[in-house]
Symmetry: C2
Subunit: 425 residues, 2 copies
Amino acid sequence: MKKESEARQPVRVVIIGGGFGGLECARNLRDPSFAVTLVDRRNHHLFQPLLYQVATAGLSAPEIAQPIRSLVRNQPNVTVLMEEAHAFDLAAKKVTLGGQVLEYDYLVLAMGAKTGYFGHHEWEEHAPGLKSLEDATQIRSRVLRAFERAEISTDDRERKRLMTMVVVGGGPTGVEMAGALAELSGKVLAEDFRRIRPEQAKVILIEAGPRLLATFPESLSAYAAERLRKMGVQVRLSTMVKDIGPALVQLDGEEIRAENIIWAAGVEAQSLTGTLGVPVDRGGRIQVEADCSLPGHPEVFAIGDLVSLTDKNKVRVPGVAPAATQMGRHVAKVIDAELRHRRMFDGAHQRAAFGYLDKGNMATIGRSSAVADAFGMKFRGWVAWLMWLFIHLLFLVGFRNRIAVVVQWVYSYFTWKRGARIIAR
Amino acid sequence: MKKESEARQPVRVVIIGGGFGGLECARNLRDPSFAVTLVDRRNHHLFQPLLYQVATAGLSAPEIAQPIRSLVRNQPNVTVLMEEAHAFDLAAKKVTLGGQVLEYDYLVLAMGAKTGYFGHHEWEEHAPGLKSLEDATQIRSRVLRAFERAEISTDDRERKRLMTMVVVGGGPTGVEMAGALAELSGKVLAEDFRRIRPEQAKVILIEAGPRLLATFPESLSAYAAERLRKMGVQVRLSTMVKDIGPALVQLDGEEIRAENIIWAAGVEAQSLTGTLGVPVDRGGRIQVEADCSLPGHPEVFAIGDLVSLTDKNKVRVPGVAPAATQMGRHVAKVIDAELRHRRMFDGAHQRAAFGYLDKGNMATIGRSSAVADAFGMKFRGWVAWLMWLFIHLLFLVGFRNRIAVVVQWVYSYFTWKRGARIIAR
């Protein structure tokens, strides 16, 4: 047993990324022995599960975002830097940011995912994804502007194109976007135009696989497809996208002209993972060890959408917010336990392996309609919708945001209006 | 007396601009004989008096804006087009928009004002004004980013520059901006940084004249200056700006290095007024007739910030929202009366002259502190502040916006937090 001197050096922990994983990790390193630096290229933490509501004018951007530094205001051992990480030198234990180099004892990579186009990067400009507030406000502007232009247009073909929206990808994001777009055109905008009839707009949801919501039980997938069809969405399953051009989706032997094409078909890890010198999968995800550390680098961890991991219970960890949060907490515990161990003993500390606790899956389809697969049970319809509302409000970060979002939701529920119909220039 | 046939041609009224004046005009032309086309290059009506709160992260953009077409949803005789007016042919009674030409029986020009630099257009990029939502969110991002960069910086001079903000112009907008910036740095951001102390940021308010709020009684000007100084704002009166460069304000024999320079010193009419062939003043404002029509063109009106007018009571009509609203209503009444007259009688109809009803002036300085000059009385301190809150909520367009703004204000009041601290990229 050894007793350390009172004047201990702080343990420098650098966390890259203030999303669900990085933020949770920082918040669980409360021991003042840790000097935590939380780096993010944006100033805000984003509640991504509600991003589709910003894209469809239901919520405004600040309602689902919070300044990262406000979220750790009461933790004096955390310094927040709005910077981009440019390079990692794992051998020297250094991270190069825009204007400075940070040395670390522990490094936690939590940069998250970006929209992935399966190698077709040229599709990005025609079919934006939905990962950031800028993505969402850009999609909002493009969709609303299309209706404005349709109102002005005198060419029938152009009008039809302007009033067609394609969502590629039938996962939760795609289903939620398609449902919200159908409600936007069918209800919210319906009475606001004089020359066009927004309810005649067409929303097409394209999924390559044989069913929507592939990670849900089959009965819920079928329910989602049926609900969407009732809302007027054209659901096309087992349909491959061959190519995407300007306002053009090319399928097998068919082309769809659509002013708005929204990509919800895949994500990949932020590109820096390729520079670390460790194995990554096709989506750039790092194959981490059982404790979330990098192979050969026990002092470096990767968490969240950045990793590919089968956990201690042989469960593949999915790329969802709860998984990122749990990994962030796990890594903080590992680092904290190691510090306590080192204060007391010499020699290595046996680290715990990460285990994912699956609390269930849910997706909303439209008003009073959602699906949820939780507690070993299946829920659908308004019960699932109420669960969805409750869970999302519960996990939305920040008291003010919760109040503001409740106000918006209640208002929209009763009026069919949406509060954020602003076209930015 | 003549009786018209039942099948009357609709009277085509084209209104350019959906601000306070244009919107009020459209809303008062309810007779189905009018086919009103309301044209705006933006899709939203903006409540400009609260724009400074968006610029200082207190409110989010959608909270002070509403889609124009929603605001006239229940008026089937109004068609809204999101288009820019490019040219006017007063002789042929035609307006050229982006993609079409509109013919009119009456034309109402209500395009409003833009930031004016007294001929120094080169100052615009260094010292943005505050007229649109984009202006406001850009200023918000620049101000918040300056603090982020100061936290990263290791150069004392650079830090000082990053933490200096200059507001040029001591009218209501300048006073409100300076007060809100002082609260932002002194209170809202104070505990969120580790390396810098935001409360040491410097806010400098520069006014060319001998006092702030020149249109208010002198005692209120003195009160505003004193309050701002107590809040830490450097108020510099009788101070001329010689030149503005990148992060640089040049005064007489002195230069101030400031990352953020905000221009609140003047506005001028939208440039198209110069193309009408009617007399305009130095600020591009049209010298309209007593009824707000253009000299020689009784079928064309100009209202709001676009005009220079001394009303029937010999009062100079100021460039404020209530004046624009009143002119909009006046013009609608003139057009409406003319229609009724023509249905009954031959010959010209005697038009009423516009009279401005001055309901008073108010400006907020900071929390619990404002000045108001209304009902022939002077108010200051928290009484004026409560009046200010009440009046602004009352006139804010839209029920949802009112609720949302109340939530934000109550929350900020008790927590000293601001809900819209988002830096857009």
